[in-house]
Amino acid sequence: MKGAGRLYAAVAAGGFRRYATYRVATAAGVFTNTVFGMILAYTYIALWDERPGLGGYDQAQAVTYVWVGQGLLSVVAVMGGGFEDELIERIRTGDIAIDLYRPADLQLWWLAADAGRAGFQLLGRGVLPMVLGGLVFRLALPGDAGTWAAFLGAVLLGVLVSFAIRYLVALAAFWFMDGAGVQQLAVLAGLFFSGMTLPLNVFPGALGELARVLPWSSLIQVPADVLLGERTGWALLRTYAFQAAWAAGLLALGRLIQSAATRRVVVQGG
């Protein structure tokens, strides 16, 4: 057990280092996040000028929401682009057969690698856009360490949910061979239902209620709400329970589908 823990820790560290290697790409990503953050922040200011208190946020909270979203975009991989491209490619080429022989759990292996990636993205691409946004706009950031710690907890659970969803997306390649269509669908759902396009509490009526209970809300909306001080005390625990339930459910579903897929897997080539 201790050996296994060391193995996955090493895989996670590898994931971290791998993404840390591309410094120019990271800088370019920060730049892009900042530009989009600027554009969105101005549109949100106009929106909240028109309807102060929309969705229960004041203007400073709305602008902060924008920068939390830009900071987390790559961390919770709303647009995909993490491990799943690689896993899909291995399923398509049949290399997955070798992975299934390895004395390591497939799901845990990729989870460890993705956790390493998320850890780097949080430091490398999460912090700077927020700081730059704070230089231009007045942000409603919490002053106490407790809220920041609660936020990190929500981000951690968000990464888990994000991984669980993308693992399912990748496994679809066992049936479709070409994962592009499913991946594209997943990105669309992610962008819309995570709260990246617009905060979910601004969504009208039933659409809003639906969006808030879907797993994607764990990626952006929930962590942002925690940072903005909208979830404290029991509400915070309920929030964690919501995220953890989705994570556990989707991870379990992933294992189930994985075992079904590996029973029917036909390795291509000779």
Partner: protein, 294 residues
């Protein structure tokens, strides 16, 4: 035969100056021909998997429609954004999206250049007897990008039915001019971004902030943004000429920054200037290319 003639005509119009006419003409012809051949090859290859193509086309359409859904959701809560109604925002959105869609269809794969520089596959393009720009631009030509153009035009059509515009012949003429010039301005940004990737290979994302970021910016009214930002996209990176300035003239709305009214007719000139500059940048970038050598 007719095709030939058309092509020749195109070259004549595209020739930069009398002195360069001979060389310029044949280079341009080479480029267009190579572009057409490569693009057609990619179209045929995509059409081998029709179901997959239909899915990605739909995905492209839905993906770009998402921005507009966000705007619709905003307007479900407010009547105006920065003093603009939904119809007027839809007008700006449609123009920005359609113009960008045209560029994205023609040059959408330019951001793959950095990858080619890094892994050395650009060398293959250099030894082929066709202009590199045409080869890079046509690389992975994707008809699915028609989805974005369609979506933009649909929103534009919707806007035209809801917004009251006092049409004049000049305004009618300005519409197609705006779309083509706008696409050319975005095209210049794509090519300049490509040139930048010769220097910073992993930085293809920077290009996205000016292309995708630019079209997102232009989807919203200029009154929403800070004066300095509007100044920046008017005088430094002249994205405002894609739709803001000419569209405000058509809509009969006041200009940002107190600009005179005739700036509405500048887009073709601005586009020509941008294309010339980005052409120079591309040359400089290509000259600075050093192969990875392995």
């Amino acid at each position: 035969m007719a095709d030939r003639q058309q092509q020749r005509q195109r070259q004549r119009q595209g020739a930069p100056s009398p002195g360069f006419e001979r060389v310029g003409r044949s280079r341009l012809m080479d480029g267009l021909r190579a572009y057409r051949l490569i693009a057609w090859m990619w179209v045929r290859s995509t059409m081998a998997y029709r179901a997959s193509f239909a899915m990605t086309l739909l995905g492209n359409f839905a993906g770009t429609a998402l921005d507009f859904v966000a705007i619709l959701l905003m307007f479900s809560r407010v009547d105006e954004l920065g003093g603009y109604g939904l119809g007027e925002v839809a007008f700006l959105y449609g123009l920005s999206s359609a113009a960008f869609g045209l560029t994205d269809l023609a040059l959408g794969s330019m951001d793959r250049l950095g990858g080619r520089v890094r892994d050395g596959t650009l060398d293959t393009l250099l030894v082929r007897p066709a202009p590199v720009l045409a080869q890079v631009a046509a690389d992975r030509f994707a008809l699915r990008r028609l989805g974005r153009i369609t979506q933009g035009l649909l929103v534009l059509g919707y806007a035209l039915t809801v917004v009251d515009i006092a049409w004049t012949p000049v305004k009618v003429l300005l519409m197609p001019v705006m779309l083509v010039s706008g696409a050319a301005i975005f095209g210049a940004v794509f090519v300049a971004g490509g040139a930048f990737q010769f220097v910073a290979q992993d930085a293809s994302q920077v290009q996205n902030s000016f292309t995708y970021g630019g079209t997102t910016l232009l989807q919203y009214p200029p009154t929403v943004f800070a004066k300095e930002l509007v100044r920046g996209v008017t005088f430094v990176l002249p994205l405002a000429f894609v739709n803001w300035l000419p569209a405000l003239y058509v809509l009969g709305l006041p200009y940002p920054l107190d600009l005179p009214q005739w700036v509405a007719f500048l887009p073709p000139l601005v586009a020509a200037g941008c294309c010339a500059l980005s052409g120079l940048a591309w040359r400089a970038g290509l000259r600075s290319y050093r192969s990875t050598g392995s």
